[in-house]
């Protein structure tokens, strides 16, 4: 909301600088997001009078114009088509900020020579100073003709009454305060912390006619329409509203339309009550407030045809809707130039109903924004009186020709609320004395009695929802007292070592190990899209969908980390030869359920689990290089965690197992998939579940060094190329319990051995806990190994 300082000053005396005022407003009431001094735009722009016009010697369309600006006389070159001697113009002095021909950015005006003639200043067109609304130009070469009673040399902002300071208030910071959505409401709060009296809101009693014209109003549901006030006013003459009203509206971001509409808007900005004026001729003398019927439609003032839903509240003329209650009027009852009689509505509608309607229609208006905060129904009367007063000023012939309709049924919860002062002090953490607290509340409009226990009656404008419990009272006292005056203090509580978050610690440990292994951690979005998933040959069926995605790129919740890791490679492949990344993040599984949705039903949320994703990418010199590298990383991780993965062949790489349960995979990105995904390098990705690793994690135990020496024998076999190392190793380990370890150290495939065969060389470690092994013992076992491998794989021992 935009707030005018000049307007506020009508109700409370503000004698501090706008900057200081803005700061205090933020510290006590609402957040100021920006301050704009309107006069700043008009620095060096003044009212001037043309004293002489001469032809430009070198240009037909240009004139040499002498302008009196009070302090001096300036000669300028001007192309204005509507110049005349004696004309009052907007004159930009050297240094003024103007928009050339109404386009582009503001530029500082400098001295110029135009077609050989010097020009020191500029006579402005309205678009050059951002006042095209105030002074609409009929042609491109028209400059502003100020006409009227202006003082030559006066700053334009002052002359036009635009020397105001506008504060931009963050609406979020007053979501809970229906009373603050107006100048008077804010002035009330301001007066308390400025410690200045609040002026009485100007209004005069309504001169109601002795009911010659009947206005009949029928409210069908008083729950959603707790109050409906209306009057019919004749003697209306539609014209532009007073300059002050127009200026104020503009300053607060509203477009002036005509006197009647402007006055209703003006009063809304003044006390926060939205109202609506109908053309009496168009609606007749009957108003009926009811819910919409199925399939009913309305064309709103913005020209949109809108389909209505059953729960939307309508203002109707007995038959068809003339307004969506509290949201927007309809075109069919709009005030226009021919309007001579208006029917003025000042009503209160249920906040929830208005909110639902406005949400469903996607139509948020100044009016609906205020209603949905729960307005005080008492405002209706004040607004009506004030509007009539202002209309009377604009149209002296105006008179109320109906009786005053006031159908109401509302009860406000004004308390009283009991507030224990000691409790209040305890919660604030500051010894604010009882009388100080009471004084603050009284200044805010609360009625207070009692001492140790304050009995607080809530004023109507705070009683709709905002203030209902003692905690709300704490806020009032604390913010006016000043949060800054509360001294910070550490809590006095029992010392206690916090419970350890085992899962988080474990994930941190994994991260540390991977960083040690030279990988870097990346963070990716949880969102993917169908195409992205399909490009990797993954099914997109079980993905959880967003109902309202932001872009087509992010429509699904990820079920694995691979798509983004591949994306990470694409991002980096141009600048980095080797890409080694990992991510630990949540994936979302629709078909499994886990945490409870609430504490009433037994429904559960889709399962979410943290998994580890890894990627290793570089252009391979040899097939399987990246695979081996990434497998090495995983083995390093396993070693550090004291775990052992089993690897089995899968269609696209390997499956990882822990204790015979599949817990992850290693996937080689094939050439075709790589191409589809824009990969220009070879990549291997891996995924690992974290919880199975955590389950198997045990405290490390120290094993003492073997007293008896190990014996290592190197053996090499020629064996079918496709026989897996894992199988060979398992076969060897099975031979004898003296074999403690088998480790491959070389594999050879090539022209020195038969096609389809490989030579595999291994260190075989023999050890015993009981004695020093003899060569003979080991020889026997070794022979057995040779025999077994031959039997099982047709392998033959190869000499070195």
């Amino acid at each position: 909301m935009l707030l005018s300082l000049a307007w506020l000053k009508e109700y409370v005396d503000i004698d501090i600088s706008p900057e200081k005022f803005g700061e205090l407003l933020t510290l006590h009431t609402v957040e100021v997001e920006g301050v704009k001094n309107l006069a700043q735009d008009f620095e060096n722009i003044v009212v001037g009078r043309i004293i002489k016009i001469e032809a430009h010697p070198n240009a037909d369309k240009l004139k040499l114009v002498m302008v009196d600006i009070g302090s001096e006389k300036c000669r300028v070159v001007c192309g204005g088509g509507n110049l005349y001697e004696g004309m009052l113009v907007v004159f930009a002095k050297i240094g003024a900020q103007v928009r050339w021909h109404g386009q582009g950015d503001l530029v500082a005006l400098g001295k110029a020579t135009i077609r050989g003639e010097e020009s020191s200043g500029m006579i402005c067109a309205s678009s050059e100073i951002g006042l095209e609304n105030l002074f609409p130009a009929k042609s491109d070469d028209e400059v502003v003709d100020l006409k009227g009673d202006y003082k030559v040399g006066e700053n334009l902002a002052t002359a036009l009454g635009m020397d105001d300071v506008i504060f931009d208030i963050d609406n979020k910071s007053m979501t809970h305060r229906p009373d603050l959505w107006s100048h008077y409401g804010l002035a009330r709060d301001i007066s308390v912390w400025l410690d200045k009296p609040l002026k009485v809101y100007p209004q005069s009693a309504l001169e109601v006619a002795k009911s010659n014209k009947v206005l009949s109003v029928d409210v069908q549901d008083q729950k959603i329409c707790p109050r409906y006030m209306a009057i019919t006013i004749d003697g209306i003459e539609i014209k532009p509203s007073a300059e002050k009203i127009q200026n104020r509206l503009r300053a607060c971001g509203m477009r002036p339309i005509n006197n009647v509409v402007d006055i209703t808007n003006y009063v809304m900005l003044e006390i926060g009550q939205p109202t609506h004026a109908f053309d009496t001729k168009k609606i007749g003398q009957k108003i009926s407030i009811r819910l919409a019927k199925q399939n009913e439609a309305i064309t709103t003032l913005d020209g949109e045809k809108r389909k209505l839903a059953k729960e939307m509240l309508l203002i109707t003329n007995g038959q068809e809707p003339v307004a969506i209650a509290g949201v927007m009027g309809a075109g069919n009852s709009e005030i226009d130039g021919a309007t001579t009689s208006i029917t003025l509505e000042s009503a209160n509608f249920d906040a929830v109903s208005i909110r639902k309607t406005s949400q469903k229609l996607g139509l948020r208006t100044e009016s609906s924004q205020r209603y949905e905060k729960s307005l005080d129904p008492n405002l209706c009367a004040e607004a009506l009186q004030r509007i009539f007063e202002l209309i009377k000023k604009s149209c002296p012939q105006a008179r109320v020709v109906s009786h005053l309709v006031d159908i109401h049924k509302f009860k406000l919860n004004q308390g009283p609320i009991e507030v224990d002062v000691e409790w209040l002090q305890k919660k604030i953490g500051s010894q604010i004395p009882s009388n100080k607290a009471a004084e603050i509340l009284q200044n805010l409009g609360f009625t207070v009695s009692g001492d140790k226990k304050l009995i607080v009656k809530v004023p109507t404008w705070r009683a709709t929802k905002d203030i209902s419990i003692p905690e709300d009272i704490i806020e009032e006292v604390a913010r006016i007292y000043g949060y800054n005056n509360i001294k910070s203090e550490m809590p006095m509580v029992k010392m206690e070592a916090p419970e350890k978050n085992v899962e988080l610690n474990f994930r941190n440990k994994i991260k540390d190990i991977l960083v040690q292994a030279g990988l870097s951690e990346t963070y990716n979005y949880a969102f993917v899209n169908e195409a992205q998933v399909k490009k990797l040959g993954l099914e997109s069926d079980f993905y959880i969908k967003l109902a309202n995605p932001l872009t087509n790129e992010h429509t699904l919740l990820r079920r694995n980390l691979i798509p983004h890791l591949i994306q990470n490679v694409v991002t980096n492949q141009r600048n980095f030869a080797v890409i080694k990344l990992f991510e630990i993040g949540n994936i979302f599984i629709s078909e499994e359920k886990e945490l409870r949705k609430d504490n009433k039903t037994k429904e559960k949320l889709p399962k979410q689990k943290m998994i580890l994703g890894l990627v290793y990418a570089r252009s391979e010199k040899e097939v399987g290089e990246n695979f081996k590298k990434l497998k090495g990383v995983i083995e390093f991780l396993a070693k550090e965690l004291d775990l052992e993965f089993q690897f089995t062949t899968s269609v696209s790489g390997a499956t990882l197992h822990l204790n015979n349960a599949a817990v992850g995979s290693l996937r080689i990105i094939d050439k075709q998939t790589a191409k589809k995904n824009g990969l220009k390098t070879d990549a291997v990705v891996a995924e690992l579940e974290i919880s199975p690793m955590l389950e198997l994690l045990k405290t490390k135990t120290y094993s003492p060094k073997n007293k008896y020496p190990d014996l290592i024998r190197d053996l090499a076999f020629v064996i079918d190329e496709k026989v897996l190392y894992n199988d060979i190793r398992a076969e060897i380990m099975k031979v004898n319990k003296l074999i403690r370890d088998v480790e491959v150290f070389d594999i050879y495939i090539g022209d020195k051995i038969a096609v389809g065969k490989k030579n595999i060389a291994m260190h075989i470690t023999f050890a015993s806990q009981e004695k020093t092994l003899t060569g003979e013992e080991v020889d026997n076992v070794q022979k057995k190994i040779v025999v077994n491998l031959n039997k099982k794989f047709n392998a033959s021992l190869r000499g070195f």
Partner: protein, 342 residues
């Protein structure tokens, strides 16, 4: 002069005897044998001595120099210094590159925050990123029709409940952990929850739809606004490793009453005013307040006996201020030229 030489000798020998490593040798060598060393000074002084004395002293000094040099060579051998036999090494050549990995800056910031709060006795909690409407809104005193729902643009999951409503959301804040934690642990409770949150808003250099928050919750029998201020001051001071002041002002969040916005004294200009604090000396950092009694009740905690404070803030913001990062999108970019800097 003779005496002086005697003393010098004793001094050198005792220092040589006390040498414990190779670096000390160089020091002693420089002190006594260097161009500006003590022995050089003795030789200089010789010139001013009477002729007959000169010869004897010179001889003695020479002797001492030889003795020291021998001793130093002996020591160098003992401690294994490099000489020509070992070959030449250009020590100015770069070393062999070690390719270390890097932790994401947000992980580092989160760990730092966890460290601070663990040390104050706070548990570290986590919660689901895909959350029910109940824990994300309802239980936090934000019913369906509440205008505060507009304050956070929500991603809904395309899955309706029996009443035909979307009741699953991507959590819009880490505050969803509040009531879950109360249900699990009851009161008193001291916990922070860190994690990813989601907002349905367009992204630019300062806005993200996916970011991280830290939520703090402390419930006990006597918890005040003053305590909130104390803990937050500790958090910021601990995080930026300097004395930081905080400033509280009214703010609105339905799950706290009173609600506060908290500003931190600018850590860049120490409050003098700079571009980061927009010349105000204060930087808006977080939302906070005293836990609303309705929220305590939702968590099964008696608001007449217990009270508490809660706060929440974006972790990216802390990181951006700490490291001078100017674009929030970098955190999720996966760009190694960014990641490798941390």
């Amino acid at each position: 002069m003779k005496n002086k030489l005697q003393n010098l000798k004793q001094e050198v020998l005792s220092q040589l005897a006390g040498i414990a490593d190779i670096f000390d040798i160089e020091k002693v060598e420089k002190k006594y044998l260097g161009k500006k060393g003590e022995l050089a000074a003795v030789f200089k002084e010789l010139k001013s001595l009477p002729e007959k004395e000169k010869k004897a002293v010179a001889q003695q000094a020479q002797q001492l120099r030889d003795e020291v040099m021998d001793k130093i060579v002996e020591l160098k051998n003992k401690f294994g210094s490099i000489d020509e036999k070992d070959g030449f090494i250009d020590v100015t050549l770069p070393g062999v590159k070690i390719e270390g990995g890097h932790l994401h800056p947000l992980t580092q910031v989160q760990r730092d925050l966890e460290r601070i709060f663990l040390s104050m006795g706070f548990k570290i909690l986590e919660g689901p990123e895909l959350e029910s409407d109940y824990y994300n809104f309802e239980a936090l005193n934000i019913p369906k029709t509440h205008p505060a729902r507009d304050m956070q643009d929500t991603f809904f999951i395309d899955q309706k409940n029996k009443a035909g409503e979307y009741d699953l959301v991507m959590r819009t804040h880490t505050s969803n952990v509040q009531v879950r934690a109360m249900e699990k642990y009851g009161a008193p409770l001291r916990a922070v929850a860190l994690g990813k949150i989601y907002r349905n808003e367009n992204i630019d250099a300062s806005h993200e739809h996916t970011f991280y928050q830290i939520e703090g919750l402390m419930i006990d029998e006597r918890i005040s606004l003053a305590n909130l201020a104390g803990v937050l001051k500790e958090m910021f001071s601990g995080f930026y490793q300097k004395e930081v002041n905080i400033r509280m002002r009214p703010g609105y969040f339905p799950f706290v009453e009173p609600g506060l916005e908290v500003e931190m004294s600018c850590v860049f200009c120490n409050g003098r005013g700079c571009s980061v604090c927009k010349k105000t000396g204060w930087v808006e950092m977080l939302g906070a307040g005293l836990v609303h009694p309705n929220v305590l009740r939702a968590g099964g905690i008696d608001p007449d006996k217990f009270q508490g404070f809660a706060f929440g803030t974006g972790i990216e913001r802390l990181a951006m201020l700490k490291y001078g990062i100017d674009d929030i999108r970098l955190f999720n970019s996966g760009d190694m030229s960014f990641l490798n800097q941390f």
